[in-house]
Symmetry: C2
Subunit: 181 residues, 2 copies
């Protein structure tokens, strides 16, 4: 749950970071940025801001923003019907992204969200800078984080069905509730 004020402030801040990254977006797009708290009600710690540029039955293009210190919780994209699951390429536009996926534990530069250590199980670390990208096959667990400067990244994928995403943290609800006060 977030307040309308939190939503509007996060939207405005995300739009500024997107534009500062050199990405030209329309006023309408800026107004439509999704502010996602994953039902955890502590947006600044675990959350993400999402601008959907393209969403068809076949592909999806999003710009994601993490504020400094914000973490997108560990999740994966399961098969849905005849779809083997979402394949996703993330590419950094500005800032530095600490990205985690399965493999040897090389966890070093990021941090684990306090009290939620058990919800961050994959710890192979990539430190990604503008122009760096990685492609994830369906089903691969991943989470990512920004530190001091925040990060703006692209997500290019096959069709996104966000509500079907699976999270390690069972307290997560993918739909964010916004309250007026």
């Amino acid at each position: 749950m977030i307040t309308r004020n939190e939503q509007q402030n996060a939207r405005r801040r995300a739009a500024e970071m997107i534009r500062a990254a050199g990405i030209r977006i329309t006023a309408r797009e800026a107004d439509g940025i999704d502010v996602v708290d994953f039902g955890l009600s502590r947006l600044e710690k675990e959350g993400v801001q999402v601008l959907t540029l393209v969403q068809t039955e076949r592909i999806s293009v999003k710009v994601l923003v993490l504020f400094p210190g914000q973490t997108e919780p560990e999740h994966w994209h399961p098969p849905v019907g005849s779809d083997p699951g979402k394949e996703e390429t993330v590419r950094v536009a500005s800032g530095t992204m600490y990205f985690y996926l399965p493999g040897e534990n090389t966890f070093k530069q990021g941090f684990l969200v306090s009290g939620k250590e058990h919800c961050y199980t994959v710890r192979h670390e990539l430190v990604m800078r503008p122009g760096d990208q990685v492609t994830l096959a369906p089903g691969v667990k991943h989470w990512f984080q920004a530190r001091d400067e925040g990060v703006v990244l692209y997500s290019f994928s096959t069709v996104a069905r966000d509500v079907m995403d699976q999270f390690t943290d069972k307290e997560i609800v993918r739909t964010t509730r916004v309250v007026e006060k």
Copy 2:
């Protein structure tokens, strides 16, 4: 056919335009920009520069550059095997794009390539600026053009099989031949 010199100059110029548009690319990506003359040997008039960012079996992300006065010839994306054909969203990153597709003839601000008027049959005009985008279903004929300032655009699509593209101009060969001098 283009010379190695033409290829290298066009690559360099395209990389500069991409970076000036605020898009962060690696040195390796810049060196891999495709310079496409469509087999017509007059790159400055009919051609395109293509940086492929993502190419998997399911999706494709490219950055395209048209120099001032350059036109990408009319073409469409046909079905290939079980694929209904490439679905494509183009989005302008910088500059102005004159984009043409089927519909009422509203041709006004672009120009027809001299001597090739019959190869540009769809003339419904969109004048697109940064942040503007359009999604094309498979099979829809289209062509596009830059005038004074050139244009840098994104192409987000389902899997690209460029050699299967169909062109109105029967003289076109999709593979560009590069000669050493």
